[in-house]
Amino acid sequence: MTRLRQLYPQLLALGVVLLLIGLISPGFFSVTVQNGRLYGSLIDVGVRVAPVALLAVGMTLVIATKGIDLSVGAVMAITGAIAATLVADGHPVPVVLLVALSLGLVCGLWNGVLVAFLDIQPIIATLILMVAGRGIAQLITGGVILTFNDPAFSFLGSGAVMGVPTPILIWLAMGLVVGLLVRRTALGLLIEAVGINRRASMLVGVRARFLILATYAISGLCAAMAGMIVTADIHGADANNAGLWLELDAILAVVIGGTSLAGGRFSITASLIGALIIQSLNTGILISGWPPEFNLIVKAVVIVAILTLQSPAVAEELGVLRDLLRRKGAKP
């Protein structure tokens, strides 16, 4: 897929963030096995990142087409609400999965049609569902936190396969499947082409409308999966709070991953690393013991630092510096 070299900035940032947290809280890296499953702060990062990581997978593709999907948080609330309703009514898990994923797909297609066929600007088109979606979710749950007790469905959120928590497996699998789909076929290239210049790509015969529709559909599917994980995790659907503001974290993850909001070149792996950076920060702050007033400030400072280091201007300066050092090193 993406060459490792291209991931240097993101991997470096993740490494530095993890190292800093390790310095502040020495127990951060210890991973043990407890009750037959991996246990530790590092594992928490992997589990808690699942919703944002899933959203980031879909969001990367959407942003690559020069779009944006603000509705993912609300779609999480809708699919979570439907899943909880069905589980509470005693439907088997496969049925729940199928219905919730289909609903996510429908939400994605709705966005896609607005953007690709009605040519509404993506930020407005997806804003509609972002606002309305939470209302729909509340209608489904009747305004209460809908709880259920079903070990089979809760497995999605708090279960483990061979010691590895299910949410980790789900986001890894989703990233892998979508990554292979776009990079082992020409799809990724075509999406980039549409993002860079939709008109030109259409003139050479790329079916831009269909591609854009497909990216929003995938984004809807990812959001549905994320919604179910969040619902399974707390054994209940909280229409008010499920996925609240997560669309912004997902966009941030994509941006940290180096994908430009202007469309074009994208990397799903880099976006996933971006999501991991954000979640490492969240978890790191929680175990640091600092007062909560600092949470957002610390997060903002680190993210500004990361984005500054990635900015073209700074990268150029660094390049010059490196060349200078190399030349100096060459001289005896």
Binding site: D44, V144, I234, N241, A242, I287, G289, P291, P292
Partner: protein
């Protein structure tokens, strides 16, 4: 000032008492909207209370907008109701419409929130004391723990919100005298289950796998429910290994209490209308002017208080 008020109210009584005495009251109620389960329960209880007392309740849902509330209050004034209940969505901007109500000699009672307006514009405000709620929770813990050393972790509400600030303050006041009880960690869980669970997970990792934690204090029940799941998944027993005390008394915490997984909760009663109707009836009958603030009871519930039964009585209130 007080004497003036008394005089004014006795004049008002002279004019109103005759008409309203023992007759059916018509009361307008401007509710914020359905922002949370607690608010839905408040609406249900208000309607129940009105029905029990034979009060004709006119209900207006403001959908979280002050302009709708002002419109509703003007509507109530035009209909000539006997009194108006308002659960104000914001604290400011009420002077004008309340003056209109005052001019029409309709008493106004505020429910569950205070406002920034001259006190003579409303009859009274019925609210809970959030600092006291935290205090009740803290006092329960002090009594429960005795003289053992106890490390408490705290799940705060949304940073900067008044319930978070006040409930923290009250709890700290209650445990201040006891040097054996310390708050080891305190973080925000944003009043939600998901965040409550996530924060508790990290607390457990940071405090020797949770073995060092003796109790968790959550500013609301939802965060406590999340924390209980985190404690269970870490292989510990909530309610026994780590005691759980929280505030609000929503139905789900009683289920946890019945299972022995939560220890205590302090009720934020949805029955704000009951005390309001009490003072209103007295005011209408003989002009008794209530104090400007009526504090609702912050009742403590523990596992000994028949949690299953309380759950049954609360589950249909719309929480």
């Amino acid at each position: 000032m007080k004497r003036k008020l008394l005089a004014a109210s006795s004049v008002a009584c002279l004019m109103l008492c005759g008409a309203a005495f023992a007759a059916d009251l018509t009361v307008g109620f401007s509710q914020i909207g359905s922002e949370s389960g607690w608010r839905a329960a408040e609406t249900t209880v208000t309607q129940q209370q009105a029905k029990e007392r034979g009060i004709d309740l006119k209900f207006a849902d403001a959908q979280q907008k002050q302009e709708n509330q002002i419109k509703a209050v003007r509507g109530f004034i035009a209909q000539g109701v006997d009194a108006i209940l308002i659960a104000p969505v914001v604290a400011t901007g009420w002077d004008e419409v309340l003056t209109e109500a005052k001019d029409a000699e309709i008493p106004v009672i505020l429910l569950d929130r205070q406002i920034d307006a001259p006190e003579d514009l409303y009859l009274t405000a019925v609210t809970s004391d959030q600092v006291y709620e935290g205090k009740v929770a803290g006092e329960w813990l002090v009594k429960e723990i005795g003289d053992q050393a106890c490390k408490v972790v705290e799940l705060q509400g949304t940073t900067g919100s008044s319930p978070a600030i006040n409930r923290k303050k009250g709890f700290e006041e209650a445990i201040a005298a006891k040097s054996n009880i310390t708050i080891a960690r305190s973080q925000t869980g944003d009043f939600t289950r998901t965040k409550g669970k996530e924060v508790m997970e990290s607390f457990i990792k940071a405090e020797n796998g949770g073995k060092d934690i003796c109790a968790v204090y959550a500013h609301n029940d939802d965060m406590a429910v999340g924390a209980i799941q985190a404690i269970k998944e870490a292989g510990l027993k909530p309610g026994t290994d780590i005691k759980v005390v929280s505030i609000d008394a929503v139905p789900d915490i009683f289920l946890a209490m019945a299972e022995g997984e939560a220890n205590a909760t302090v009720e934020l009663t949805p029955n704000m209308a009951g005390p309001a109707f009490d003072v209103l009836e007295k005011f209408k009958a003989d002009g008794t002017v209530p104090p400007k603030w009526i504090q609702t009871e912050s009742k403590l519930f523990t596992q000994a208080d028949d949690p299953k039964g309380v759950y049954e009585s609360k589950k249909d209130l719309g929480y």
